[in-house]
């Protein structure tokens, strides 16, 4: 019962501390919010970049044509072989007849009646779509080594551009995360330093009276966690609105780019961003208060 009393007392004091040191509370919330706001923006932008690059990657295909006399069974066997490769996402088989039908429809129309035989009899092909464009050279090398394969058509420039873009995004991500981390550490260090000067006397008094480390620490840690929760909710909400507004704005003002710019739905982004931000916010709040108090417990 007494422990429960102390527990609720610590929680009550944690909430009261928020209003006792209003400026410190506001500074801490602002610091965490600023860090997580930058993180949220960055996360949204990177997620969209990755989504667009991935969408472009999925449109890149390799077309394989076969030697004269290759049977449909041989082609279908190769298709089954390729389908199990991890870098392959989809394979479309186009038979010689289907190729001719498509050609007729697209280019000849009624003039096709003069053809009694299929002029594209050797143009049965496999169109291979990839999940990872950077593996295209390896796949092409393999295909060219297969006996029945005559030619492999691919766009090397597109593939190398996309895999280069992927690498660039990875480097930029790491770079921005490092910068954000440094900025966060600097800001949080400053806030914790302010917290120390505010708390020093109070912690000293508690220790002289005979408070255990746990009793001294608990209200501050609870206060830190509450600050972390508030400090993470604010930027997530702000980024959510900014994101939705930005998507609408770009959609209306840059309509000609609508084919290129396909945005990730906000719910997809925020169902990950919200918990990540909350964990980071609570983590910063917890550690910040824990470290602040620890420095003064040796009284």
């Amino acid at each position: 019962m007494r422990i429960i009393n102390s527990f609720f007392y610590a929680i009550g004091q944690g909430f009261k501390n928020l209003t006792r040191n209003r400026w410190y509370t506001l500074a801490s919330i602002a610091t965490i919010s600023a860090c997580l706001f930058l993180f949220g923006l960055f996360y949204s932008i990177i997620t969209n970049f990755q989504y667009m690059v991935h969408a472009a990657e999925e449109g890149v295909s390799v077309t394989v044509f076969f030697d004269e006399g290759t049977t449909e069974d041989q082609i279908l066997a190769l298709q089954a072989d390729l389908q199990v490769r991890p870098e392959v996402s989809k394979i479309d088989y186009e038979s010689a007849d289907a190729a001719w039908e498509g050609f007729k429809e697209q280019y000849l129309g009624e003039y096709a009646d003069g053809f009694t035989e299929n002029p594209l009899a050797d143009d049965a092909n496999l169109q291979i779509y990839m999940s990872d464009v950077s593996m295209q050279p390896a796949l092409v090398t393999y295909l060219e080594s297969v006996d029945i394969v005559k030619t492999v058509n691919r766009s090397e420039i597109t593939a190398s551009t996309l895999s280069g873009l992927n690498k660039l995004i990875a480097y930029v991500s790491v770079g921005i995360i490092v910068v954000l981390l440094c900025v966060s550490i600097f800001l949080i260090h400053n806030t914790v330093t302010i917290g120390i000067s505010v708390r020093k006397e109070e912690i000293g008094i508690m220790k002289y009276i005979g408070a255990t480390d746990f009793f001294v620490r608990a209200p501050f840690v609870i206060e830190g966690i509450i600050i972390g929760i508030i400090g993470s909710i604010i930027p997530v909400v702000v980024v959510y609105f900014i994101y939705n507004e930005a998507v609408v704005y770009i959609g209306t003002h840059f309509a000609m780019l609508s084919n290129l710019l396909a945005f990730v739905d906000s719910t997809v982004i925020f169902e990950k961003l919200a918990p990540i931000s909350l964990i980071i916010g609570v983590g910063i709040g917890f550690l910040g208060s824990f470290i602040t108090v620890r420095r003064h417990l040796h009284v």
Binding site: S6, E201, E202, M206, G210, T212
Partner: protein
């Protein structure tokens, strides 16, 4: 005076069960310069009222910090209420401190809380139930003469009243020893007398009271045991002693 000091020292050589503080040959050195405390031996019995006097730099503050286990002695042993302060484990220090009430010159109250909460805080630390707190806090506030001010913020009180709050906080857990470090240093003569009367009353109820002070008038008026320190050593220890400035 020198003779009586020697008599006292020999009398206390064998530690009796009645002693609540036993310091044997305690030295405390900081990084530089002469030791702040040099070979101090001091025995204080349960229920005593002791003044510790001396000029700035005489070692009084170091002595108090050692008794509160804020500092660890460089040499010698300190036993307070049976706790060996040179060897006590860190996690046991709070439990040791609960046996000692402490009052400072600058009151050290939690300024953002009212009188009641400042005193109740000491009870919450020892996990008293809310019902006990509601009974004990008003009772101790009445003892120190602040029954009507329990809702006041401490920074709205006078110096004398703030020191009474500090006293109430120190006493509410019924400590065995009350340690008062310059308790009247910031008070006018009227409040000084009131606080000293309270300390005397507390002592009469069985609590050992140790007062560190510069106030000659009070020391000389009260006729209690007086321990005088100078340059880190005890130069005089006398029952019914007086505090005389030897420069005059």
């Amino acid at each position: 005076m020198e003779k009586s000091f020697r008599n006292k020292m020999s009398r206390d050589n064998g530690a009796s069960k009645n002693e609540v503080i036993v310091m044997e040959n305690v030295t405390k050195s900081y990084n530089e310069g002469a030791p702040a405390l040099n070979g101090v031996t001091l025995h204080i019995k349960k229920g005593e009222f002791v003044f510790i006097v001396g000029d700035s730099g005489s070692g009084k503050s170091t002595l108090i910090k050692l008794l509160l286990r804020e500092l660890v002695p460089s040499k010698g042993t300190i036993k307070v209420m049976g706790y060996d302060l040179a060897r006590i484990k860190r996690r046991k220090i709070p439990f040791f401190r609960r046996k000692i009430g402490v009052v400072f010159q600058d009151f050290r109250l939690l300024k953002d809380r009212n009188v009641y909460e400042n005193v109740a805080f000491a009870q919450r630390i020892i996990m008293k139930s809310n019902r006990d707190i509601r009974r004990n806090v008003p009772s101790i506030l009445a003892t120190v003469g602040l029954a009507g001010k329990y809702k006041s913020k401490v920074n709205e009180l006078s110096g004398g009243e703030q020191q009474r709050v500090a006293l109430a906080r120190a006493l509410v857990n019924r400590p065995d020893i009350l340690l008062a470090d310059e308790p009247t240093g910031n008070l006018d003569p009227g409040n000084t007398r009131d606080i000293m009367k309270l300390l005397e009353q507390i002592n009469e109820n069985g609590t050992t009271v140790i007062v560190v002070t510069h106030n000659r008038e009070i020391v000389n008026e009260m006729k209690k045991r007086v321990i005088k320190m100078n340059k880190g050593v005890i130069v005089n220890d006398e029952e019914n002693g007086v505090y005389i400035d030897e420069d005059y």
